[in-house]
């Protein structure tokens, strides 16, 4: 069991991190290459309109699209905020960072982190329900999409259980670490790559609307 723990908290973390970083870099390089194939794209892009679009689409309720569904947008916003903040600032992680590399990290008070985790899980649950209940969403979802959502949520669920010391802690921690690794590795290979593609696609559309067509895209 302890070799297992050693593996998942040591090499596996490395494998996951390297896969995530390399995968992401490769994706971005490939994307830039693809974009360059079409000679008309880059000359039409401007920094101003790219940033303008990203700004309005990351600002809470910055776009009309978001405003037309206040609950979902708010939830998605909180979901992402917590989801991005937690892996870096959870106390349990900070301890591990320190053990492994001796880096001291600021971490969230555990009570706050716990609530944020609950938010992610809650929001994720709603997203899952929405994908199942809403005809227009269900129509374009396959098992893959549900699996991805489960992958996204599992580290939070297991982390949550571990924190509360429910069930067998060791097992749960192992599950947590494995799911966390899967989480990282899934990003470059599924639509979770929207994490970085978001900025490029918005920059493209922002320029298409703003620079080329003199119109707003939010």
């Amino acid at each position: 069991m302890s070799t297992m723990v050693n593996f998942v908290s040591g090499p596996l973390v490395w494998i996951a991190l390297v896969t995530f970083v390399v995968g992401t870099v490769v994706r971005i390089v490939l994307m830039i290459r693809t974009i360059k194939l079409d000679k008309t794209v880059l000359p039409a892009m401007t920094v101003k309109h790219s940033l303008r679009s990203i700004f309005f689409w990351t600002l809470p309720y910055g776009s009309r699209s978001m405003r037309t569904r206040p609950f979902f947008s708010g939830l998605s916003y909180l979901f992402h905020l917590c989801l991005l903040a937690l892996p870096l600032t959870v106390m349990g992680h900070a301890v591990l960072w320190q053990q492994a590399w001796g880096i001291r990290w600021w971490s969230l008070p555990s009570g706050v982190a716990d609530v944020m985790t609950a938010v992610v899980i809650f929001a994720g649950g709603i997203f899952l329900l929405r994908r199942i209940m809403s005809p227009e969403v269900r129509n374009v979802n396959t098992w893959r999409d549900y699996v991805i959502l489960v992958i996204v949520l599992l580290p939070f669920v297991t982390g949550f259980i571990a924190y509360h010391q429910w069930l067998d802690y060791r097992t749960i921690i192992i599950l947590h670490m494995v799911s966390g690794a899967v989480w990282l590795m899934a990003i470059p290979f599924t639509w979770l790559q929207h994490m970085f593609m978001f900025f490029f696609s918005r920059a493209y559309m922002g320029s298409e609307f703003g620079a080329v067509r003199n119109a707003r895209d939010w």
């Binding site: 693809t34 689409w57 009309r64 227009e136 969403v137 374009v140 918005r202 298409e208 067509r213 003199n214």
Partner: protein
């Protein structure tokens, strides 16, 4: 849904799976398609684009009409199956791409990632076009562009003759009015779409009245290239699209005009400013190009025309996709409309967020077989129009104009439509010296 369109049915009989596979893969290996694949990989299947699309909203939220579903059912399958799809599949893909999406780009404003659904749909149209699977009527229009460079088989003499005839007609209203043909170095070259000489010649007289009163140094070309419409752009025949845009710009460049002014048409504007130049290797149009709305705006702002009568009835405004979402002209459009009308009732939503008319993007040019499908897919616009309570809808675009006429007819709305120029010439002061 089983509409008989000879354009589809004849192609269906001839297509082989091998040919389909070959064409799909050749198109999808090109640079544009590569970009499309990136978009598809980014899509999180959240369905947020559904509410943006008038076809989805109009068809009782039928999930198959959500933008993401339309792409999944067409391009998505083609990619997944690496082009190994059946002729029947292609027929359905063609129906979706030509009839159920006009490339209005509204969904790209509602998708959090700005996924370019419209360009993907145009990619499918390109595939359909290469396979000969194109609705008969829009193919016929494209054929006309190929043979005559204009959209409606207008013979070269008919064009010149109509312009001269409209000039003579308009001279009865405004003394000394001219429609100078082929005038070198004119400040403005004005261009129209073929339906004007063919069926709405009065619009040519109208613009001549405006240009004369505003003392604009203008011209129109007598040779081919006078028609700025471009249905080849929508039917997927990019070679013909490029050819007619080249001819169009060539006329303006030969005459060394200062700028091109495009009549009240949206897609023509798009073709001449974006799609045409891009295919030809220009980053933008080679000379400045303005839409009629911008011309009216400038003339009003500079005080070169004066509006003396204003409409008091409730008036609403259709924002044409290609000049609003596609050019940001909504504010200038408001300026012009408010100069003409006292009681403007806005549609909800408006500006870039207004719904498409479902006639543009080549849909209305797919003709009679598809009229009912088109009207079904635009119920939302009928609701939107009714809610304004307006008795007049201003449509500064030929497609919107026809589209809205069809909508108010089909959904029994008590409303008229008008181009801006029709109101302007009626409500404008004709200076003393020019009276007849």
């Amino acid at each position: 849904m089983a509409v008989a369109d000879p354009g589809f049915d004849l192609a269906l009989a001839k297509l082989t799976p091998e040919r389909i596979e070959q064409v799909i893969n050749s198109v999808l290996s090109q640079a544009v398609a590569e970009r499309m694949k990136l978009f598809l990989k980014t899509c999180v299947h959240c369905g947020l684009c559904a509410d943006a699309c008038h076809t989805y909203l109009s068809r009782n939220r039928d999930p198959d009409f959500a933008p993401v579903a339309k792409v999944r059912d067409t391009l998505g399958v083609m990619l997944k199956k690496k082009g190994r799809v059946s002729p029947e599949f292609m027929k359905n893909a063609a129906r979706v791409a030509f009839i159920e999406c006009g490339g209005c780009r509204r969904c790209s404003m509602y998708c959090p990632f700005g996924i370019d659904i419209a360009t993907m749909i145009m990619t499918i149209r390109r595939i359909c076009s290469l396979l000969g699977m194109v609705p008969q009527f829009i193919q016929d229009t494209t054929n006309s562009h190929s043979a005559t460079s204009n959209q409606m088989w207008v013979q070269p003499d008919d064009w010149i003759d109509t312009v001269m005839w409209q000039e003579e007609d308009a001279q009865l209203e405004v003394a000394g009015l001219r429609i100078p043909l082929d005038k070198e170095g004119a400040e403005v070259m004005y261009s129209v779409i073929a339906p004007e000489p063919k069926v709405m010649a009065q619009l040519i007289a109208n613009i001549a009245v405006l240009m004369t009163v505003a003392k604009v140094d203008w011209t129109m070309p007598s040779a081919d290239g006078w028609d700025n419409s471009n249905m080849a752009m929508f039917s997927g025949d990019l070679e013909i699209m490029g050819r007619i845009e080249r001819e169009h710009w060539e006329r303006a460049l030969e005459l060394r005009v200062g700028k091109m002014v495009m009549g009240e048409c949206g897609h023509a504007y798009r073709g001449a400013v974006y799609d045409g130049p891009k295919w030809l290797g220009w980053q933008g149009p080679p000379l400045p190009m303005v839409h009629a709305v911008e011309l009216y705006y400038d003339l009003l702002r500079e005080g070169r025309i004066e509006i003396t009568d204003k409409l008091t009835e409730p008036v609403t405004i259709q924002d044409p996709c290609n000049i609003v979402r596609g050019r940001g002209l909504h504010e200038k459009l408001r300026y012009v409309v408010h100069a003409l009308c006292d009681n403007v009732v806005e549609m909800d939503p408006k500006f870039e967020h207004n719904y498409c008319c479902a006639a543009g993007g080549g849909i209305i040019n797919c003709g009679a077989p598809w009229k009912m499908a088109r009207l079904k897919s635009i119920k939302i616009k009928a609701t939107q129009l009714k809610k304004t309570g307006a008795s007049l809808c201003i449509t500064p675009c030929h497609n919107c104009h026809h589209g809205v006429v069809d909508i108010i007819g089909h959904y029994h709305i008590d409303m008229r439509t008008s181009f801006l120029i029709e109101l302007i010439v009626k409500q404008m002061k004709i200076p003393e010296g020019l009276g007849v």
